[in-house]
């Protein structure tokens, strides 16, 4: 199982993901520079957090047009796993690999804090280690995480079961008070229809070791690794 972490100019969580995959989970990991035209045979491609291309124009807009994203699209079309975290989620939206768009947070402030998430889908390669409806805690750090799409598109997203994570209270109930950025329907993470491309605003790589106080994120990354091993074996 080989993972590739895309590095755009301005990515700043690339080494965090690398550390967890390589040193905590013992996997083979390479960095994929934004000018690469292939994903170098990786089973899993991670688009990390940061401020790709300085977030000029819109978060993720310029990164979506970089050479490596054409390769990531091919990888996704072939059924390969893609995980976009924070800025990586924004890039996936701008690249059209996931539906919808991000607006500024509802109070226009950059938010850096822990949030509680309800796991709406535990049957995905990314969430297989979670229980249905489980509430987990992960940190967010973003200024543009206010997920938006038209009402019909949101209905379709829900009907298709593509909402994977929602912002909730610690007891799992939904309220605007616990929806930090104002996202439509408290959406914190979504998956494509095929189930192999996940975008999420929270940072699992920042909560993957108990020495840092929280390892909820490790369950996600370890689950992805297990799935990628299975997908790779099936190829």
């Amino acid at each position: 199982m080989k993972s590739g972490i895309v590095v755009f100019p301005g990515s700043n969580c690339d080494h965090d993901v690398y550390h967890v995959l390589k040193h905590v989970l013992g996997q083979e990991v390479v960095f994929l520079w934004h000018q690469e035209e292939t994903v170098k045979g990786c089973d899993l491609v991670v688009l990390p957090g940061g401020f790709a291309y300085g977030d000029y124009l819109r978060a993720g807009a310029l990164a979506a047009l970089s050479p490596v994203m054409a390769a990531v699209k091919k990888h996704a079309e072939a059924g390969g796993l893609v995980l976009g975290i924070c800025n990586g989620f924004q890039v996936l939206l701008e690249a059209g690999l996931l539906p919808g768009a991000m607006r500024r947070n509802k109070d226009l402030r950059f938010l850096c804090r822990d949030v509680y998430l309800k796991v709406e889908r535990s049957d995905l390669p990314f969430t297989r280690r979670f229980k249905p409806g489980q509430v987990v805690r992960m940190p967010i750090a973003h200024g543009e995480g206010n997920y938006e799409d038209g009402p019909a598109a949101l209905d379709q997203l829900e009907a298709a079961g593509q909402v994977v994570f929602r912002y909730v209270a610690p007891d799992g109930t939904r309220s605007e008070e616990w929806n930090p950025n104002g996202s439509a329907r408290a959406i914190a993470g979504i998956v494509n229809a095929r189930g192999n491309v996940l975008g999420m605003m929270p940072h699992p790589e920042r909560c993957a070791e108990m020495v840092l106080g929280n390892a909820d994120g490790l369950e996600l990354l370890a689950g992805v690794v297990e799935s990628a091993v299975a997908v790779g074996a099936a190829r």
Partner: protein, 59 residues
């Protein structure tokens, strides 16, 4: 309330139809995120465009 961005773009063509086609393509592909944004294109002849620009971005 409406907030947005405006871009002054100088093109290497004086064909209005070609200019409009190019600008719409640029908006669709990059400048506007049509999931949450709308865009409008206005054409100006080169001389008018230069004088209308706030500080000529192409000196």
């Amino acid at each position: 309330m409406r907030a947005g961005k405006s871009f002054d773009i100088r093109l290497a063509t004086d064909d209005p139809a070609e200019a409009e086609r190019l600008l719409r393509a640029i908006c669709e592909k990059l400048l506007a995120n049509t999931v949450v944004e709308e865009y409008a294109v206005e054409l100006a002849p080169p001389a008018a465009a230069a004088s209308a620009a706030v500080g000529d971005p192409f000196p």
